[in-house]
């Protein structure tokens, strides 16, 4: 029986010729990741396990991105735990506040993950790297600790849903609209325990940044991982973002599904039919197209996060905001996903556009995405956000509301003071 892309990667990492859905395996890992929230818990468990040193100091990434620059004393203490561990274990891929970025923006950018890798991260959006053709999935801190100690993790081999992409998205439609459309269609548990595998002739019409956004939100459909077939765009991206650390010895390996791979379901998605899409409170599956949203007044707009804090997202926002002003009494907060993107925005004038439009333009951080800091809502307030979760209380008071959208819709909404189509501004 043929294997899916995910199954082929897992089989290779478990040293098996073949794996089947439902089988339990132990796989070798190419990268193990944690942040300032999940890392300290993992470090504690690591010590409890009786481990003294990590399995490979080049294959661990520690990124303080959630509550950094430290928002309070407790956050500072968590960052300190992470830093001390990184120093003690001589971790190569530890990123101090001046070189960091949001983990899932940073790792591909630095070439720390690549096609064919098996990656676990103590963060649910670790599934982002599927855009590169890697198997990557979120796990908890105890799994992270075991991964750091042994370079291995246990998995139940998932079955998969195939998404056959065709056509070309229209002007203001991006990866965010595609994934919101899909989650709206299959629901927040539509891919529970499964892989979402993306392929088809429409793939060439999606940029790498589009693909990162789509893979990033696979978890919002309950999936174990999302993964894209590797094409020229992927290879070009990986060439441009090669890791400089010789000891890491990154080798890309391209896995395709077997011709007779078995999928639980196949969806054909015509990208040309997708409209800008917004997820209403309080679940990512509550989607409406921009034509159906009605009159929703908003108090705040957030553009950033591991979903939409990449260069293309900044570019779209700058294009729409150029020479415009945000609506009166509205807070616009723009947070690039990494120091490189931040610098690029300064160099090419985006920073000026954002600030002149009346926005806040900050150093990289997860910040408001998880209700940490830098844009928390009071009771009754509404935010249009390019992040990935609109759960109750995610960005502040339990009576606040989050509307998930693309950078284009978010920027247009900031100008209009209500949810607005990018075509209109």
């Amino acid at each position: 029986m043929g294997m899916t892309m995910t199954q082929r990667i897992l089989a290779a990492h478990a040293g098996l010729k073949e794996v089947k859905a439902g089988q339990f395996i132990e796989a070798d890992l190419d990268m193990v990741l944690a942040n300032d929230i999940t890392g300290p818990v993992a470090i504690k468990e690591f010590k409890k396990m009786g481990a003294e040193s990590v399995f490979d100091k080049n294959k661990i990434a520690l990124v303080p991105d959630h509550f950094t620059p430290n928002k309070d004393i407790k956050a500072a203490e968590q960052s300190k735990t992470l830093r001390e561990f990184a120093v003690e274990q001589d971790i190569t891929n530890y990123f101090e506040v001046g070189e960091m970025g949001i983990e899932h923006v940073l790792l591909p950018e630095k070439g720390i993950v690549t096609a064919g890798d098996a990656v676990i991260g103590a963060d649910s959006h670790t599934c982002t790297y599927g855009a590169l053709g890697a198997f990557s999935t979120g796990i908890g801190s105890t799994d992270m600790a075991a991964g750091m100690a042994r370079g291995k993790a246990w998995f139940k081999v998932p079955s998969a849903i195939k998404f056959e992409l065709v056509g070309k998205p229209s002007k203001w439609v991006s990866g965010k609209d595609v994934i919101l459309h899909i989650i709206g269609m299959i629901g927040v548990d539509g891919a529970l325990y499964k892989s979402m595998e993306f392929m088809g002739t429409g793939l060439k019409n999606l940029s790498m940044d589009d693909r990162f956004t789509i893979a990033n939100m696979a978890i919002e459909a309950g999936a174990k991982n999302g993964i894209f077939m590797v094409d020229e765009k992927t290879e070009e991206y990986m060439k441009e973002h090669k890791n400089k650390n010789k000891l890491l010895k990154k080798k890309t390996k391209i896995y395709k599904p077997d011709p007779d791979a078995v999928y639980d379901e196949t969806y054909v998605i015509d990208l040309s039919k997708i409209r800008p899409t917004v997820a209403f409170p309080h679940l990512p599956e509550n989607t409406k197209t921009i034509d159906e949203v009605g009159d929703i007044k908003i108090d705040q707009v957030v553009i950033g996060s591991c979903t939409n804090g990449r260069m293309e997202d900044m570019k779209i926002a700058a294009k729409i905001l150029k020479g415009k002003k945000v609506a009166k009494n509205l807070r616009l907060i723009i947070i690039p996903g990494s120091q490189d993107i931040y610098l690029e925005c300064i160099k090419n004038g985006f920073a000026e556009i954002f600030i002149k439009a009346g926005g806040v333009f900050s150093t990289p951080t997860c910040g408001p995405c998880l209700g940490g800091h830098m844009g928390i809502m009071a009771a009754g307030e509404r935010t249009v956000s390019t992040t990935n979760r609109n759960f109750v209380g995610r960005m502040g008071h339990v009576e606040s509301e989050i509307y998930l959208a693309s950078p284009a819709v978010a920027a247009a909404s900031a100008i209009a003071g209500k949810i607005a189509a990018p075509e209109g501004v």
């Binding site: 339990f24 929230i37 999940t38 300290p40 818990v41 504690k44 468990e45 409890k48 396990m49 009786g50 481990a51 959630h66 509550f67 928002k71 309070d72 407790k74 956050a75 968590q78 991260g121 103590a122 963060d123 649910s124 670790t126 979120g138 796990i139 908890g140 801190s141 105890t142 799994d143 600790a145 075991a146 100690a149 042994r150 246990w154 927040v188 548990d189 529970l192 325990y193 978890i219 309950g222 174990k224 679940l283 998880l370 209700g371 940490g372 979760r389 759960f391 109750v392 209380g393 995610r394 339990v398």
Partner: protein, 163 residues
């Protein structure tokens, strides 16, 4: 035996333990805010040995292990739902919070019912209603992990073997 707290579908990790409390990882501290954004009264009413019964996709959202840790530290002995979000499922087993998948139980058990659970057989008895439900017992691999008392001890064992 424990009394039941009943919740709906897609209970996410942000309501189980909101991120604003994630600047600590001390179980007792986390327990003080368990379920806060869904049921502010939970922490006042929960007693040792109580049980949470909920709808499908329990624990969806973030990978924060703080969620099962908070639930366990609050005194809850077991969570029953038709399905769990996969990272939550893993984290629960890895940290020793027993969970059971059982659609029938999730449908028929009401808030306040007294129930008891046999983890070995997966049998759930509803004392209040005089009903029993059968949950899927754990696969062997997982039972191994639980019998080893979670992943920490399992890895500890492996490390000892290699030295």
């Amino acid at each position: 035996m424990g009394k039941v707290f009943k919740y709906g579908e897609n209970v996410d990790t942000d309501v189980i333990i909101p991120a604003r409390h994630l600047n600590t990882s001390v179980p007792e501290e986390l327990a003080k805010h368990c379920m806060e954004d869904l049921d502010a009264d939970f922490v006042n009413r929960v007693e040792q040995g109580d049980i949470i019964v909920a709808g499908k996709n329990f624990g969806c959202g973030s990978s924060r292990e703080h969620a099962p840790i908070a639930i366990k530290a609050s005194g809850i002995q077991c969570v029953i739902a038709p399905t769990f979000a996969r990272i939550f499922y893993r984290n629960s087993l890895n940290t020793g919070l027993p969970i059971l998948e059982c659609e029938e139980a999730a449908e028929n058990i009401d808030a306040g019912d007294e129930i008891s659970v046999d983890f070995k057989t997966g049998k759930i008895s509803n004392i209040t209603k005089g009903e029993t439900y059968q949950a899927e017992p754990f696969p062997d691999f997982i039972r191994d992990l639980i019998e080893n008392d979670g992943l920490v001890n399992y890895v500890n064992q492996k490390i000892k073997e290699t030295v």
